[in-house]
Amino acid sequence: MSDVTSTTKLEQAATKAAVMNQLPADKESLGQSPLHHADFASAAKRGAQKGGIHLSELALLGHLTLRCDAGNLEQLAAVEAILGVPLPLTPLTSVEKGAYSVRWMSPDEWLILVPGLEAFSIESQFRDAMPGHYSLVNSSGGSTVLMLSGDNAVELLQKSTTIDWHLSVFPVGKVVSTLFAKSTATIRRTDDQRFELIIRRSFADYIWLWIQDASLEYGLVIEA
């Protein structure tokens, strides 16, 4: 475990960065998502089974932040080769294939979600194959994913953000980074009434409190 810098196949690669597999062998029992203390599994059993808001957590996924040049065709090709999907270059769009999904975050930034176990492997593939100036950062520990759905999901988002969620301007697949109450979130519409919220670890408890409060009039169903 002591090789600090990964050796790169492309000697000319501009970025010489440290990469490490951050997961322990015993990852299942040790890992605690930012909402571990909320114990969604129990809440799903004990709590309401009917309501206008449904909420679940996709815990311990692999979150990778890629920064590179959207105009660099070599980089784009490399990314597509690794992920099997092209980077979404249109602002506020996303692509998804199988267990991989990529969100446009900024003109030179994308957020890639992969199964937790694959983060290191993907990261290593980037280090091996990605040419030119870029950065790739594993941010899996820094955030978690909430899935929000239900008849009142849009209203809850209206209470929490200033974004226009009307389907005519916010179609399925659109993604925004925005303020969520007094925190931030990256929110993607995955279906007419289904949304994916990527939130920061340290704010997770606040957002959990906020969502419970904002759901009061609709009823909140926790899904394991």
């Binding site: 951050q22 890992g31 203390h37 030179d108 209206q158 920061r200 408890d205």
Partner: protein, 1005 residues
């Protein structure tokens, strides 16, 4: 009690649902559909308030948002008290508890009223500026009397049991007002496919149509309203908001709409319901269909209960089935005023006379009154009212053609109600909110909305179009215009047929003359709520307050909770007359949000209590809570402050924690430090530009401390940055400074040096950091790692990738305590697992958790600064004695270099950071204490500096302090003095700030 003013039929109330309410402790009945005001009038309640300055009895004047007098206290319990509720806007519910707000012992028999009568003459506008000055010492006594007398309702003394929230809305067209114009506009826009929101302050849509007996398409107007509302409801893209007041119209078509969801149901909101909701609306186009407010006329004793505006009389009769009196005199300058008399007569009560200020009156409504046999007195006015707690009669006299003088003799008539109409003022408030200045129209005799940059259309009464047919037509056109602007298809709308009435021109009259000059006549009120009279305005003008803003401020006109909705135009007219100007020459009056008052709770929504501001937690937060830690707020983070054991004082805890670190090992949750991942071939160059020291040669595997300065050379943050790879660094920042440092790096990269190949990513939340520090820390780590952490294999200021408790970790051998230390960083999902293993394994090594306070003491023993505590934006690295952290050899002029070389920054005698040892080692100088050279000098004393950090050091068995002293670095060994609040003086000796292990040996073992 009987509702003796209630009609047996008619109106929009539900006579089958009776409701009980109390007013000033007495119980009354009303019906569902009543407002509190209509129910009070039904019960014959005349006096609803005592006036602010003169304590005169006051009654209900209006039926809507413009009501100045009926401002009541509501609430059945202490926690649900609401001050200053307008009875005309409060729907009646069963169990409503209300009371008047001024008057002692009661509003009916008020002692202050006597004083008002006697002392009133000594209270011209601005009297308080002219008196209460002598003797100077008595001002506070005078003032406390003024304060007790002022104010209206009272705030509750208990916490609000209700909740409020806000919701963000977007639409193509926001229609404000659901009267005929608003409904026509909304329907047109909706049919054209626009996303529409229509809001109205009343419980029902319909606006003026609800108060009127005028048919549409030959049927009651309510039928048409009902059909339109049904159709609007059917559109998926239309939101209907009754009981919702558009209170603010802000820049870029942003509107705040205040919806009252439960105020009509009960004193407290039913379970799970929000009491009020604020809709924050961003509209592509706004259609203002806000209608108009009627103006009363200004005449002597026009505030005696029973004096109303004519539209209100019609509204009470037609909408609520209440006739607010028996014998009515109408005074009007226009045809609309006749309607009240017609409605009154239709309700079967006596119309004493219609006094028309015009010499000729021949419009259709006038004819209708004639045909009904009502007495019409033309060319005359009610010049004075008799009565005190209710009108008993009026004095009528003939006027000259311009209405400026009385030309005939005075006739007295018996009456208990006077309804006056001076015309209507368009409700232009919202159009003013974004700075648009209204424009006077002689034709309308009122102000119209002025030019604006907002995407705004207007329709109906706001444009001076008061006839239903015109309002409907304008609404339709506004809807069509909005559709065209939005690029949506045009639609046709068949408007209901309304009988068009012939109208005679109104007379431009505001202030009715009296036999006596205004200054000597009985009071003629302009603004009821603030007790401003025509005479008062004349005095203000005479004294030189000539700008309308001066007049308003000097007299307080328009500063009430009704914001002068009734009185402002009349006041301007009185001022214009006094100054011999026209109204527009006098100035315009601009309205500001809110249109009507809003509960604080509704403005803040859920951002209160537990949700006031986020609490940020680390991965180990739950453990800290379970261990009974007390927390320090650092930014939004909750950091463990110290971990007391049962029975310990804070100082005992700190002593224990400090000694544990110095003698065994301590553990600190350092996860909150800002962390920024930096990658790219120019990362190293970038670091050299943003830190004051050198970074070119830092090898992979090493860490370095750096200072960050602004372009002014002043230190604003610091931290350790590690070289992870040739082109890869991990920067740490202070907990509070993380966001600022990140934005600062980005701004330089994006705007100044985009050519540098470097990317920054915030990873603060991604890594969890457990710092173990103390002589036993290596032993502890060795137990849990696969790596070689010996001093030979793992040097001070190195970092290594090893596993800790089975979890891959980046471990930094850096020290903020001066002890052997390891900062263990793992992916935060595993932070708790590693922490718990460390705690478990640490038991036998004497591992002690410690918090920020102990961290502060330990670093101060070593003389390490805390940015933000030992810096204040006015010190550069040399002031901190940290010239070693500045490299002037770097080729690039790093940020801060030029700034710290400005003339004031290089002068002698700057305040410099030093250590301070008290002569008496047991004395701890309070932080913040100011230093002087001569404690016996005369104030103001020149301050030599202050104490920035000060603690009891259990390790050293004495107090230690860091602080600033002018030229301190050259004054080692000299004494300074700290005079304290209690009069004692602490003497301290200037010394090095490194109190412990000055050679730094302990961290290198």
């Amino acid at each position: 009690m009987t509702q003796h003013n209630r009609l047996t039929s008619g109106g929009r109330i539900d006579r089958s649902t009776s409701m009980t309410f109390t007013y000033n402790g007495k119980s009354y009945q009303g019906y569902k559909g009543d407002t509190l005001a209509s129910a009070m009038l039904a019960n014959g309640i005349d006096v609803v308030a005592r006036s602010f300055k003169y304590s005169r009895p006051r009654g209900i004047v209006a039926a809507g948002a413009e009501e100045p007098n009926a401002v009541l206290q509501l609430g059945a319990t202490e926690a649900t008290q609401v001050p200053n509720v307008r009875a005309t806007q409060q729907e009646l519910f069963n169990g409503l508890v209300s009371s008047s707000t001024n008057g002692w012992p009661s509003v009916d028999t008020d002692v202050m009223g006597m004083i008002g009568k006697i002392g009133g003459n000594m209270m011209p506008p601005g009297f308080y500026y002219k008196t209460f000055m002598f003797p100077e010492s008595l001002w506070e006594t005078y003032e406390s009397m003024i304060r007790k007398a002022a104010g209206m309702g009272r705030a509750p003394r208990e916490t609000d049991p209700d909740i409020y929230d806000s919701i963000n809305q977007h639409c193509d067209v926001m229609v404000v007002g659901a009267g005929p114009a608003g409904l026509a506009a909304a329907l047109t826009a909706a049919r054209g496919g626009a996303r529409v929101i229509i809001a109205d302050e009343q419980n029902e849509f319909g606006g003026s149509l609800l108060n009127s007996s005028e048919p549409l398409d030959g049927k009651p107007a309510a039928d048409w309203v009902h059909d339109v509302v049904q159709e609007l409801r059917a559109f998926e893209n239309v939101t209907l908001l009754p009981r919702s007041t558009v209170n603010g119209f802000h820049d870029h078509n942003f509107l705040t709409v205040h919806e009252r969801r439960t105020d009509h149901l009960a004193d407290i909101a039913p379970a799970k319901m929000v009491r009020q909701r604020m809709h924050r609306v961003r509209a592509k186009w706004v259609i203002l269909a806000t209608g108009a407010h009627e103006r009363p006329l200004v005449y002597a004793n026009n505030d005696v209960p029973g004096c109303m505006i004519t539209g209100a009389v019609s509204a009470y009769i037609n909408r609520y089935g209440v006739v607010p009196g028996n014998d009515l005199v109408v005074m009007t300058t226009n045809d609309y005023g006749y309607q009240a008399a017609l409605d009154w007569a239709a309700a079967g009560r006596k119309v004493v006379a219609i006094v028309d200020t015009r010499s000729v009156a021949n419009g259709d409504r006038v004819e209708a009154a004639r045909q009904r046999g009502l007495t019409i007195i033309t060319g005359s006015a009610v010049i004075e009212v008799q009565g005190s707690k209710r009108v008993t009669g009026v004095s009528v006299a003939a006027l000259n053609a311009s209405g400026t003088q009385i030309v005939g003799s005075v006739t007295k008539l018996k009456a208990d109600t006077v309804a006056s109409s001076g015309g209507w003022s368009p409700v232009i408030h919202l159009s003013c909110h974004t700075g648009s200045r209204p424009v006077w129209s002689d034709a309308v005799v009122g102000f119209l909305p002025g030019p604006t940059l907002q995407k705004q259309l207007t329709a109906g009464g706001i444009n001076g179009q008061y006839e239903t047919a015109n309002a409907l037509q304008e609404g339709l056109e506004a809807g069509q215009q909005a559709l065209a602007k939005l690029g949506l298809p045009d639609v046709e709308l068949v408007l209901p047929k309304v009988k068009t009435l012939n109208m005679a021109a109104p007379m431009s009259l505001f202030h009715v003359p009296h036999l006596k000059p205004t200054s000597q006549a009985p009071k003629q009120f302009v603004d009821y709520q603030t007790d401003v009279t025509a005479a008062g305005i004349e005095i203000a003008c005479r004294e030189g307050f000539e700008a309308i803003e001066h007049v308003k401020r000097y007299t307080a006109m328009g500063f009430g909770t009704d914001q002068g909705k009734l009185g402002n135009i009349n006041g301007m007219a009185v001022a214009a007359k006094a100054l011999n100007k026209t109204i527009p020459e006098t100035g315009t009056t601009v309205f500001r949000p809110n249109y009507t008052p809003i509960a604080f709770g509704a403005i803040i929504g859920r951002n209160c209590g537990a949700l006031f501001e986020p609490e940020r937690y680390t991965a180990m937060h739950k453990w800290h809570v379970e261990q009974g830690a007390l927390f320090e707020d650092v930014g939004q983070w909750k950091r463990p402050w110290y971990f007391p054991k049962a029975g310990e004082t804070i100082q005992q805890t700190l002593n224990r924690e400090c000694l544990a670190v110095r003698n065994a090992v301590g553990i600190l949750d350092a996860s909150t430090l800002g962390k920024i991942d930096i990658q790219g071939k120019d990362a190293r160059e970038f670091l050299g530009r943003v830190y004051s020291n050198a970074w070119a040669k830092l090898p992979v595997g090493k860490c370095r401390y750096g200072l960050m300065c602004g372009e002014d050379g002043m230190v604003f943050d610091d931290g350790v940055t590690a070289c992870l790879g040739e082109n890869h660094f991990l920067m740490t920042t202070t907990t509070g400074g993380a966001a600022h440092v990140y934005e600062w790096l980005e701004i330089y990269h994006q705007t100044e040096w985009p050519e540098l190949e470097v990317y920054f990513n915030t990873v603060t939340d991604h890594w969890s950091t457990a710092t173990i520090t103390g002589p036993n820390s290596r032993k502890l780590l060795e137990e849990l790692t696969d790596g070689d952490v010996s001093n030979e294999a793992f040097r001070f200021m190195d970092w290594q990738q090893i596993t800790v408790a089975g979890v891959p970790a980046r471990v930094f051998r850096i020290s903020f305590t001066g002890e052997l230390s390891f900062e263990i960083n793992v992916q935060a999902n595993y932070g708790m697992a590693v922490w718990e293993k460390l705690i478990e394994a640490g038991k036998k090594h004497g591992l002690t958790p410690y918090g920020t306070e102990t961290m502060h003491i330990l670093r101060a023993e070593k003389g390490f600064i805390i940015a933000g505590q030992d810096t204040d934006g006015s010190v550069h690295p040399y002031d901190l004695g940290m010239g070693w952290c500045v490299s002037n050899q770097k080729p690039f002029s790093y940020i801060g270099k030029r700034g710290m070389n400005r003339s004031d920054c290089v002068r002698e005698n700057r305040k410099q950071l030093v250590g301070l040892k008290t002569k008496n080692p047991k004395q701890v100088i309070p932080e913040g204490s100011a230093a002087v050279l001569d404690p016996n000098g005369v104030k103001p004393l020149s301050i030599e500096g202050h104490i920035s950090s000060s603690y009891w050091s259990e390790t050293l068995g004495r107090s230690i302090a860091m602080g600033f002293i002018k030229g301190g670095l050259d004054k080692m060994g000299e004494s300074v003095f700290y005079p304290l609040a209690d009069g004692t003086v602490i003497e301290a000796e200037i010394c090095s700030p490194i109190f412990f292990d000055p050679k730094g040996e302990r961290q290198n073992v």
